[in-house]
């Protein structure tokens, strides 16, 4: 996974709230078998509109997206994150995110940055006035900075450590295989397994 420390880049103002993952990537595009390539399907149903922010220069080159509240709600599809990262985004700034989206983003080095709505409004105004104004997302100091804007944000400490180091979660967990085995030894023995049962229980009313 790509590390995230400090990123400075152009940002795109997406003046919309409740951008659910069905909008970020419609389900019909979820057939790709690799993470790469999803970028061309990003916001597919909005792309027909020439006025859509990512269809306009210079926003089409943005690496930071500034959106309204409840970004990434709805379906758990990680394709939403692949589409954003493959398009070139490194961070999304919004007042609130869907829980599953946040987890998926962290797994792929995409940083969801929660800031209050008035800060988003100030960023929107800045970017509409000055489309190439640089925005900095600093995970080291946990701050967003832009002309006239400075705002701290929170990230869980463990997630931050992993993002800063670009660490693979699975590798980290596999260092604790003994703990997992010890837990397995004390699980309730009656817990089910998925092995097919062929018994009188089948076809329950």
């Amino acid at each position: 996974m790509e590390k995230f420390t400090v990123h400075t880049g152009q940002a795109a103002p997406l003046r919309a709230s409740n951008v659910d993952t069905d909008q970020i990537i419609p389900v019909r595009f979820l057939t790709r078998l690799t993470k790469a390539g999803h970028g061309q399907d990003l916001f597919a149903d909005w792309r027909d509109d020439p006025e859509f922010v990512l269809n306009r220069q210079p926003y089409d080159r943005a690496t930071i997206l500034v959106a309204g509240t409840d970004f990434g709600t709805g379906s758990s599809r990680e394709g939403a994150v692949y589409a954003l990262t493959d398009h070139g985004f490194r961070a999304i700034i919004a007042p609130r995110f869907g829980d599953i989206f946040t987890g998926n983003a962290h797994q792929n080095g995409l940083l969801p940055v929660v800031v209050p709505a008035p800060v988003v409004e100030r960023l929107w105004e800045l970017l509409e006035r000055e489309p190439t104004a640089p925005v900095t997302v600093d995970l080291v100091t946990r701050t967003v900075r832009a002309d006239g804007v400075e705002c701290r944000f929170d990230v869980p400490a463990e997630v931050r450590d992993r993002l800063l180091a670009g660490l693979d979660d699975i590798g980290t967990t596999l260092q604790h295989t003994e703990d997992i085995a010890a837990y397995e030894a004390r699980r309730r023995p009656a817990l089910p397994t998925t092995t097919r049962q062929r018994g009188p229980g089948r076809g329950h009313p």
């Binding site: 690799t34 379906s75 990680e78 309730r188 229980g201």
Partner: protein, 466 residues
């Protein structure tokens, strides 16, 4: 210290703790065709194995055709993706229910049906509606593809514990009011982010009176309020549902487990971070008018005016939704004409939902020009509907009982609405384009969907008797 139900289940699954994060053990991991190929690829690339194939189960639900089960999937990318689930499961020794297996169906429907979900378990699946299975007092939640890979490799997930929220539903639901109406009313009240960051526990007399099917509907849509999971403490209803199922314990083991399950409830003095109370007596049949599940009103009322929303974001969202839905504010909900009906999904595709639809359709016929998709949540449900004679009732009304799958809930198989088509639908999401590009969705209960099919506009069963 007093603990919540969620807290008890959580604590019992902590493998180790590091800072704010717990490594949580997963008791059951369900897989479907979409969202999983990249996880298996990651596993292969790293040379890792599946730690517990015996706690993992695959099912074909999203991509399968529902009109003709064995029809070849036309779209090559989808055909490949559908085939990959079976190939990946075979390679890693995972059981998978495929087209033609009697027990196949939507993951969240077959898990409970097979008796694989016991109170107190942790359950994950690459689908946000995994919350359905919280109805058993299990902790069940949706995960993304990277987390799927993580669970495959380690059978655990690093997680920060969500907060606790309690929703108490007082009183009693009136006749004709369902679990679907209850949850739509709740989301309309608290909003699509009302439960964000929380595990919701439902309690109160109106919840206790619900069947397991209805409880699953409620927990299913908990995610539409932004919540991580929904739970209901196990009781006699839960145990009666579970007993005798293929993967349920029996004999002496059942007795031991039952004692354990009965202890799974929030302590009386447990503290919740958030409390919501809903008056069950006042809930009536509900329908959504907008493009998120919180944009719903009682069927007896009208499409709201955007100006009625105090919050500027909500007002803007309402304006945008009305434009997409092509609706005029002030239109009585019953005046909204529909040309499609979808009854099914993991929200409302269980046998009780089929029975509710049949009761309305019995002796009636579907209005001309209305296309009806009746899709059971599993092939077991389908068989049950046939055995109970419901299929004949449907046929007489002009409705074909399809084979099971996600169908028009996700519109990722070949079932899809046309642009501009308007549906009364029993699924969970009315997002833009959810049922096909440009399609419009009104989320309702199975009874309202069936009545709307007969009337040709949004309607409750009682309207048909007038």
């Amino acid at each position: 210290m007093a603990r919540t139900l969620a807290g008890k289940v959580w604590d019992a699954h902590v493998v180790r703790t590091a800072g704010e994060e717990d490594l949580l053990y997963v008791d059951l991991h369900l897989l479907h065709e979409v969202n999983t190929p990249i996880a298996f690829d990651g596993l292969r690339a790293a040379g890792r194995r599946v730690r517990r194939p015996d706690l993992t189960l695959g099912t074909e639900d999203h991509l399968v055709p529902t009109g003709d089960l064995f029809k070849r999937i036309e779209e090559p990318a989808m055909r490949r993706q559908a085939a990959l689930l079976a190939e990946n499961c075979a390679e890693f020794g995972i059981e998978v229910y495929r087209r033609g297996d009697r027990e196949r169906g939507i993951a969240h429907v077959i898990g409970p049906e097979l008796g694989l979900v016991h109170p107190g378990m942790t359950v994950v699946c690459c689908d946000s509606h995994t919350t359905t299975m919280g109805a058993f007092g299990a902790l069940a939640f949706g995960i993304g593809t990277s987390q799927v890979e993580h669970v495959l490799a380690t059978q655990t997930l690093p997680m920060t514990r969500p907060k606790d929220m309690r929703v108490t539903v007082t009183g009693r639901l009136a006749d004709g009011v369902t679990g679907k109406d209850l949850i739509l009313a709740l989301i309309a009240q608290i909003g699509t982010a009302g439960g964000q960051g929380h595990i919701v526990e439902y309690r109160g007399p109106a919840i206790e009176a619900l069947s397991m099917e209805a409880r699953m509907t409620v927990c299913n849509m908990t995610v539409e309020a932004g919540s991580r999971a929904g739970m209901i403490a196990p009781d006699d209803t839960t145990l009666a549902y579970l007993r005798g199922r293929p993967h349920a314990p029996s004999g002496r083991t059942w007795e031991v487990e039952e004692e354990h399950w009965r202890g799974l409830r929030s302590d009386d003095d447990a503290v919740f971070d958030r409390e919501v109370v809903l008056d069950g007596d006042r809930i009536s049949p509900f329908a959504t008018w907008g493009t998120n599940p919180g944009q719903g009103v009682p069927l007896d009322s009208a499409v709201p005016h955007p100006s009625s929303f105090a919050d500027p974001e909500e007002r803007a969202a309402a304006e945008r939704a009305l434009a997409y839905m092509d609706l005029e504010p002030g239109t009585p909900m019953r005046d909204i004409a529909i040309d499609a009906v979808f009854i099914g999904s993991c929200t409302n595709g269980r046998i009780e939902d089929m029975r509710a639809a049949a009761e309305v359709l019995r002796g009636r016929t579907v209005a001309p020009g209305v296309e009806v998709y009746l899709v059971p949540g599993s092939d077991t449900v389908r068989q049950q509907a046939v055995d109970e004679g419901l299929a004949e009732v449907f046929a007489a009304a002009g409705v074909q009982l399809r084979t099971s799958g996600c169908s028009l809930c996700a519109a990722v198989n070949e079932d899809r609405l046309r642009p501009g088509q308007r549906a009364a639908s029993t699924n969970n999401r009315n997002f833009e384009g959810r049922q096909g590009k440009g399609a419009r969705t009104h989320v309702v209960s199975p009874a309202v969907a069936a009545a709307s099919a007969v009337a040709g506009h949004l309607a409750a069963p009682a309207d048909l008797e007038a």
